[in-house]
């Protein structure tokens, strides 16, 4: 066997591919499912926290800042292990899927809150003054005037952060979630061949490259017309 043949045999083995394709596909859909749930819940919670913070209630804001700083500082894996292996001792057993979803959602929410908040602050004060001067209430001004501008400003960092955190679905393998990487490593050890890992790599690209382009598209689509 030439070196090239050995390379193909190790990483792109057709019979291994065939055998483990169903597992990889299953993992792909589980990863997709968690990713979608994390993105929806994480961004929604992040936005809600940023909106809450804009009311500038001292105690509430302290709590938000503590929550955000903690979740941004801790490695998600630590939180996953604590919740998955620690909580059952308190009589609360969450499935690996729920733990993974919860932790990634909270981490994404923390980062998203900071990004949304920075966006809200960077909208010109004159926009508040104009909106309030016409009799719009605080929440109305926020919802109709400030947030649409703030969110446009935050699309790029938000997309980056969302992708970075959603990729952490791979951490599910340490707590037995049947997501993509878990399926791939299991298949790899059964087959004694790295091909399933390459399949997972391709599957990750199929999942995330469109998200990158989606982010770029949203950015251009929502940039309001400039002269």
């Amino acid at each position: 066997m030439t070196r090239f043949e050995a390379f193909l045999d190790t990483f792109f083995n057709a019979s291994v591919m065939q055998r483990y394709l169903p597992d990889i596909i299953e993992g792909f859909f589980i990863t997709c499912g968690i990713a979608i749930l994390v993105v929806l819940a994480g961004l929604a919670l992040g936005l809600a926290l940023a909106v809450l913070r804009s009311y500038r209630i001292r105690l509430v804001n302290i709590l938000i800042v503590v929550f955000v700083d903690l979740l941004r500082a801790l490695p998600p894996l630590v939180l996953i292990l604590i919740l998955y292996f620690g909580l059952p001792n308190l009589g609360l057993t969450l499935s690996g899927f729920v733990v993974l979803w919860l932790v990634l959602t909270l981490v994404l929410a923390a980062f998203a809150e900071e990004i949304f908040w920075a966006g809200i602050l960077s909208v010109d004060q004159g926009q508040w003054a104009a909106a309030r001067s016409t009799g719009l209430g605080f929440f109305q001004a926020l919802a109709y005037v400030i947030l649409p501008q703030a969110i446009r400003l935050t699309i790029a960092p938000l997309t980056n952060r969302t992708i970075a955190i959603t990729k952490n679905t791979a951490l599910g393998m340490v707590i037995g979630v049947g997501e993509l990487l878990n399926q791939a490593t299991t298949a790899q050890s059964f087959a004694g061949n790295a091909t399933p890992l390459m399949m997972a790599t391709v599957a990750y690209l199929i999942l995330f490259v469109p998200v990158v382009y989606l982010g770029r598209w949203i950015e251009t689509r929502f940039a309001w017309r400039r002269a």
Binding site: A129, G135, V145, P148
Partner: protein
């Protein structure tokens, strides 16, 4: 006739700095009151107290039978009766001209969409911009933007209009179109307070000119008095300098 707005004993501080040191001013129905004075004299702060964009530390502002500085009043209800136009236009950049005018009609007056649209178009027509209603602020000139901003304020049919240096951010060749709208408003009998550096316009359009310095009203009177025969030394100095 009772004044539309009556300000008394108005004080405003930013921390230890007193910006307004006891302002008393009556604004009569249908009159254009121009506030002039050096920068930092408190003109804009005074205007922003009139709809409580700034919170004064003390004083009263009587408007439509209530003190708008009192606690527990419905501020949004009052603000929709007081139109404001800003130096930097402050149009909503993500909305068309029509969208800018329509927003408060929809969400403050709670008009149905077709009514709000019709009313917004009428107002844009009034400032000569009906052809530009589907354009975004960035596609409009400064003068057009400011006229949209005026239409946005007028749409709520305010009892009084506050103009905060409405032409200061404009290129000189665009000042005229905005002043033209102000003249028309005045002719229509709109009550207004105008903070402006346009001395010649003030001279022609004002019913009353208020000269402010260091957070106080130094002198007020008809334009003929303030510009041609000022009583106070500080007014004389300012008017002489502004004429240069």
């Amino acid at each position: 006739m009772a004044p539309v707005m009556s300000i008394s004993g108005l004080r405003l501080s930013y921390g230890a700095t007193e910006v307004l040191s006891g302002i008393d001013l009556d604004v009569a129905e249908g009159e254009a009151t121009f506030v002039i004075g050096p920068s930092g004299s408190g003109k804009s702060s005074l205007l922003r107290c009139c709809n409580r964009l700034e919170e004064p530390g003390a004083g009263h502002i009587q408007f439509e039978g209530q003190d708008i500085l009192a606690s527990g009043i419905d501020l949004n209800q009052i603000r929709r009766r007081i139109g404001m136009v800003f130096q930097s236009f402050n149009l909503y950049p993500h909305m068309t001209a029509l969208g800018n005018v329509r927003l408060a009609l929809r969400h403050v007056l709670k008009l149905p969409r077709d009514k709000a649209d019709a009313l917004a178009k009428t107002q844009l027509d009034r400032v000569g911009l009906s052809e530009h209603m589907s354009q975004y602020p960035a596609q409009l000139s400064g003068g057009q933007q400011q006229r949209v901003a005026i239409a946005r304020a007028l749409a709520l049919e305010p009892r009084i209009m506050l103009f905060d240096e409405p032409t200061s951010a404009l290129d000189p060749e665009l000042v005229g179109e905005v002043l033209g709208v102000l003249s028309e408003l005045k002719r229509d009998g709109m009550t207004m307070i105008v903070v402006s550096h346009e001395m010649r316009f003030a001279q022609n359009a004002a019913d009353k000119v208020v000269f402010m310095s260091d957070g106080q009203i130094v002198e007020e009177g008809p334009p003929a008095q303030i510009f041609d025969a000022p009583q106070a030394q500080r007014t004389r100095d300012f008017v002489a300098q502004a004429a240069l």
